[in-house]
């Protein structure tokens, strides 16, 4: 049958690629930002975005219209990262839920202590330092929640974990961030003393 090759190739019409670009291109800065946070390296971040973008383009036929495109493409980015060299290295050191819990037990922060000024006055370098210290599972959840402003349901789709786990990771991430800011603040005051 001489026409098979044409039939197969015609499954990817131009308008579909154009629809993909319309949806994906506005998300590139956000994808790149998260990729850089995950890989901590400019070249790896660009490679990760490029690979994810092409994977998403090739798999766009499988994207269900009416569902959340942002969650879909971030899930591709995240899965691509997990199978990359840096991702594999990171997953070797990924702590289990219980271990994350032990690192920053809930209630480790004294809620009676006013922290409002500390957080309000925390400069960008302190916040970057606190984010960099987060283990990857907590970093990715806080980036999706606070920076990408995704709902818990969308984060659960991206990370392929239950909403309960999303919530507990967010709680641990914020406890860890507050603890880290407090530590940095104490160290800065000691240096200044």
């Amino acid at each position: 049958m001489t026409l098979l090759s044409w039939k197969r190739e015609a499954q990817k019409p131009g308008p579909q690629a154009s629809a993909f670009e319309d949806l994906a291109l506005p998300l590139l800065p956000a994808l790149h930002n998260v990729a850089f946070w995950l890989t901590r390296n400019a070249t790896d971040a660009e490679d990760l975005v490029q690979e994810s973008f092409l994977k998403a383009l090739r798999g766009f036929a499988g994207f269900e219209p009416g569902t959340n495109f942002k969650a879909w493409i971030f899930r591709i980015l995240r899965n691509t990262y997990l199978t990359s060299r840096t991702g594999l290295e990171a997953t070797r050191t990924v702590a289990l839920e219980e271990e994350l819990d032990e690192q920053h037990p809930e209630g480790a922060i004294d809620r009676q202590t006013p922290e409002i000024n500390l957080i309000r006055l925390a400069d960008r370098a302190m916040l970057h330092g606190a984010l960099e210290k987060l283990p990857p599972p907590l970093l990715e959840v806080i980036l999706l929640c606070d920076v990408e402003e995704m709902k818990y349901k969308e984060i659960a789709v991206v990370l392929e974990i239950p909403i309960g786990t999303v919530m507990s990771r967010i709680a641990r991430a914020r406890t860890a961030l507050r603890k880290s800011l407090q530590t940095q603040n104490t160290q800065a005051r000691e240096r200044g003393a």
Binding site: S5, P15, A17, D22, L23, L25, L28, R58, F69, V147
Partner: protein, 261 residues
């Protein structure tokens, strides 16, 4: 609710994830518990600051163009015909199918665009609510303190890439308290601070993000009412816990003064 608010609920409050019933319980508790109020403010400030600090890495120039080219060559590579005669034979049938499918695709594109617009709107609602809460939480006065529009408007000269007008005749219990220069999506915006009765109101004036006309929208986030409307090159977004009708009235005044209506 007699026990303190759990960490999970404090986070859900900051993230706008509480149901209306949960929100009502939490608000009742916050009204009577300074420790939890303080903890809630900490979470909100932390979220706002992390949102800003997390947007750290700008996309390198040229990456978007490179990806566009890659996408086009990838698509073309997969679509390249290997047998010209086969295409000729099926061209008529394909043309008919394309007419049918292009209609469908246009419909789908329209749907996706509206989905994207809805997501962007939700993100904007969330961000302005967080900024409003952070303003209330910080307890600091406005950067420019004045009820005089002739003082507030000129204060923004050179600080914003756009200009705006402020209404003169406000309703009896509505007062301009001042304004802040703040940032939304990394763009400088004007945050006008009003009081309606005993309710605080933040009105954000931003440069319009898309060329499409924006009709009035009303929404709710973390217990705050959000009203937005576009006029000319401006988007006006107001946040408060005041009666939505009063909020819409203020937004309407600000909108009308931009066009001289």
């Amino acid at each position: 609710m007699t026990d303190h608010i759990s960490q999970a609920n404090l986070n859900a409050l900051a993230d706008g994830e509480l149901s209306s019933d949960q929100l009502s319980l939490v608000n009742d508790h916050l009204a009577a518990c300074p420790a939890c109020t303080s903890a809630a403010l900490v979470q909100t400030l932390l979220k706002t600051n992390i949102a800003k600090a997390g947007q750290r890495y700008a996309m390198p120039a040229g990456l978007e163009e490179r990806l566009k080219r890659l996408a086009r060559s990838d698509t073309a590579g997969r679509a390249r015909p290997s047998r010209r005669s086969a295409i000729t034979g099926w061209a008529t049938a394909a043309a008919i199918l394309l007419v049918i499918f292009s209609g469908l695709i246009l419909l789908l594109q329209g749907r996706r665009r509206s989905e994207l617009a809805a997501l962007e709107y939700q993100a904007q609602v969330s961000e302005v609510s967080d900024l409003h809460i952070a303003t209330l939480a910080a307890g600091l006065g406005p950067q420019v303190v004045s009820s005089d529009r002739h003082t507030v408007k000129p204060w923004f000269q050179g600080k914003l890439p756009f200009s705006f007008n402020l209404p003169d005749n406000l309703p009896g219990d509505t007062k301009l308290d001042g304004a802040n220069l703040t940032y939304l999506h990394n763009q400088p915006v004007a945050q006008l601070l009003y009081t309606i009765g005993r309710h605080r109101v933040s009105v954000f004036l931003t440069e319009k993000r898309s060329g499409e006309p924006t009709g009035e929208k009303q929404s709710e986030h973390s217990g705050f009412k959000v009203t937005s409307v576009g006029v000319g090159e401006l988007d006006i977004v107001a946040v408060s816990d005041v009666d939505p009708f009063r909020l819409a009235e203020l937004v309407s005044l600000i909108k009308n003064v931009q066009t001289g209506a």
